[in-house]
Subunit: 426 residues, 2 copies
């Protein structure tokens, strides 16, 4: 298959390109390198020393004996989208090219508007480009399990049948997203559903859980491991997700920091499983014109507290001495709730989780160990201070949280550019 | 009350300002005059000879003996939003300041992206401005009944209680909007719901039916009628809505043109009723912090064919000779469907439809009669050619619709500016 990956420089995009190339697919990609800039803006960097795209492309060619067609560009430029679709003529477009962080979207009004404009425009450009130049292609879009929120009923895969006042209807499942970022994903999903229904496009909308880990087999194993092929690994408050952040903290002797009670339950899956699932969706496209298919993509659900305990336990087995310190929750979210999402779609296509979670965490800690100094360098960026109420204040440990509150500081007027993050200590 | 109207130069904004002023409220407003430009872009103009804002403001002062504070600006500029909120300190913000046309949003990719960027950014700026500078104010936001689509079950006001696999939950009603424009309103609603839940803002989200007519009493009646206070009246394919378009067509001897079978059922209400309903929502704000309230705002539901018949009948009574000609439907929509929306909320606040629909149509035709030449001038702009499949071709009468199809013409590459509409005749 000819597969175009938008966001190919990202945490998922790069290993997906390697995995698909290893399976014989013809891969192209586009990236604007904004993820690198956003992480720098938070005062952080990838724990793994990712290479420039030119080095990545050279390493790709060394391994696979052929070139990856790379477009250095932005989905928000429609000309670029059209040129790419017309030149590469993909069978599948995998859209991972969005701003993916809830805290980053909650920094201030300008970050919220940027996240909306960037994510919605990119997706609209792809939908129109596919409609007019590539209507047979299958769009695989990265959404998030966060689109659903945490309703007090089971979460189906995208749609459910309801009875209301004696009549029945199959409807999109109502979403209650918990951040500006998650809202943009909900908006994208509605736009894609419309494009499938009205224009006959084919799409798989992936509601993905939280991904963790460092590896896919296509990076090479043992003596065959090519460090130039490694993917990024973020651990800052904005782009680092729970397990990855805990692993980074464990490695440099910082306490692992669940937010609030830690009873927040989410779906999780390893990086290699995410790539496995994307590949299943890509290689098994929907067959009917206008099909809009939703997969909930995760291996299992865990509470944040459970995950902190698991990382601490695995860390101790590896000679580390992790502690756990609950922080005031900077977000507005339920800290204890019902959570029971379906994930039958990908299991039916053959998805099998590769390792148990403790094994994958051990592999992750081992891969990160040589880079502890890179994590230590940006350790201040791990501490959360982007609060859902619009203020900027470092979360204290829950034991300290009854101190008097710092006065609220609204976003300053007229600051129209995205500004670097300044960590304010109370 | 101190009431700020965003979109005060528009069809609803201007009469709402007059009505609220007549009731003694202190009114301010903002507009960027884009509606005038969009209608010109479609090759049309308001049937009523609306005045410049400076003339409008002078007429306002003549009638009410006080000034209306007007901001010439755009909600997409956050500085303007903040300055306005801090200066005027509104108790209520009525947000009518969006691009309101489904066909306009469906012209091409650039119009779709513009509609998204314009509508979502303006609403986000208001939400953040309210959060940081005016958190007690009540946001009355204009949504549309079109957000819901036409599900095969009753449509509640925003939320419904569902049972799913033995558990119950109150959830936002799932939306299936029929155009890019309607999608932006759905996105806005989700963003406002979030702002209320997380930041404690108070909002009423008005799901309004289709508005028709020319008048509110505050423009003056009989000898007291001040033509300088009239509101705009659009009849082109993009900004003219069903009844208004039919009235304009009847007046200049064009056939009235329902799309497709004409069995599309929608909620409708007269302009004076829309203003009555807004006033009820404004003067009866929700009392609890974080309240997000939805009103479905319409008097009754009708099919498009029924409305064409009614306009034709009223027109004949007034000496016109209207005919009806069904056109190929340029949209993708169900032309026969179940439709049963609630509207109990506003009725409970005291909403009483003023006239029966035939009376209001007769008043509208009488008000328009002196302006027939202005309608005739732009008669080409009435004919629909913006098609939901992305092509641009004038709809033929349904009897002719089995002719061979014109080849599809995709939106041209690289046309990044919004271009004037060229009506192509087949």
């Amino acid at each position: 298959m000819r597969i175009l990956i938008a966001g190919i420089d990202g945490y998922l995009g790069w290993p997906l390109a390697l995995h698909l190339a290893a399976r014989g697919h013809d891969v192209a990609g586009i990236d604007s390198f904004q993820r690198r800039a956003w992480v720098a803006e938070t005062g952080s960097q990838s724990a793994t020393p990712i290479r420039s795209m030119n080095e990545r492309l050279a390493a790709f060619e060394d391994r696979f004996g052929r070139r990856l067609k790379f477009y250095d560009g932005n989905l928000c430029d429609y000309d670029t989208v059209v040129r790419m679709l017309c030149e590469f003529e993909p069978d599948t477009v995998v859209h991972l090219g969005e701003m993916p962080s809830a805290p980053y979207s909650m920094v201030d009004v300008h970050h919220a508007v940027f996240t909306h404009t960037n994510n919605l425009t990119g997706t609209l450009h792809l939908l129109y480009g596919l409609r007019d130049y590539c209507p047979q292609a299958h769009l695989v879009k990265l959404g998030t399990m966060g689109e659903y929120g945490t309703p007090n009923i089971d979460i189906p895969e995208g749609f459910f049948e309801v009875e209301f006042r004696g009549r029945k209807e199959r409807l999109p499942f109502p979403c209650q997203p918990p951040s500006m970022y998650h809202l943009t994903k909900v908006h994208d999903s509605a736009n894609i559903r419309f494009a499938c229904r009205v224009w006959g496009l084919k799409s798989t909308d992936i509601m993905q859980g939280v991904v963790f880990g460092t590896r896919v087999d296509a990076m090479g194993q043992g003596p065959d491991w090519d460090q130039r092929l490694c993917t990024r690994f973020d651990f800052d408050q904005s782009f680092g997700t729970a397990i990855n952040r805990f692993c980074a903290q464990a490695l440099i002797g910082m306490p692992l920091t669940p937010y609030g009670k830690g009873g927040q339950k989410r779906g999780f899956l390893a990086l290699r499983d995410s790539i496995q699932c994307f590949t299943l969706a890509i290689e098994n496209p929907p067959q009917t014109e206008g099909a809009y298919r939703v997969f909930n993509q995760f291996a299992d659900t865990y509470t944040i507290s459970d995950l902190a305990e698991t990382v601490a336990r695995v860390g101790r087995q590896m000679g580390l001495a992790p502690t756990i310190q609950h922080l005031e929750n900077p977000r507005r979210e339920a800290e204890e709730h019902y959570y029971n999402p379906d994930n039958a779609g990908l299991l039916a296509l053959g998805y099998k989780p590769t390792h148990d979670i403790a094994t994958e965490i051990a592999l992750t800690l081992a891969d990160l160990a040589p880079h502890a100094e890179r994590i230590r360098f940006a350790r201040d960026a791990v501490q959360p201070d982007i609060r859902w109420d619009g203020t900027r204040r470092a979360s204290r440990s829950v034991a300290q949280a009854d101190r008097p509150k710092v006065p609220r500081r609204p976003a300053s007027v007229g600051a129209l550019a995205l500004r670097p993050v300044l960590n304010e200590k109370p």
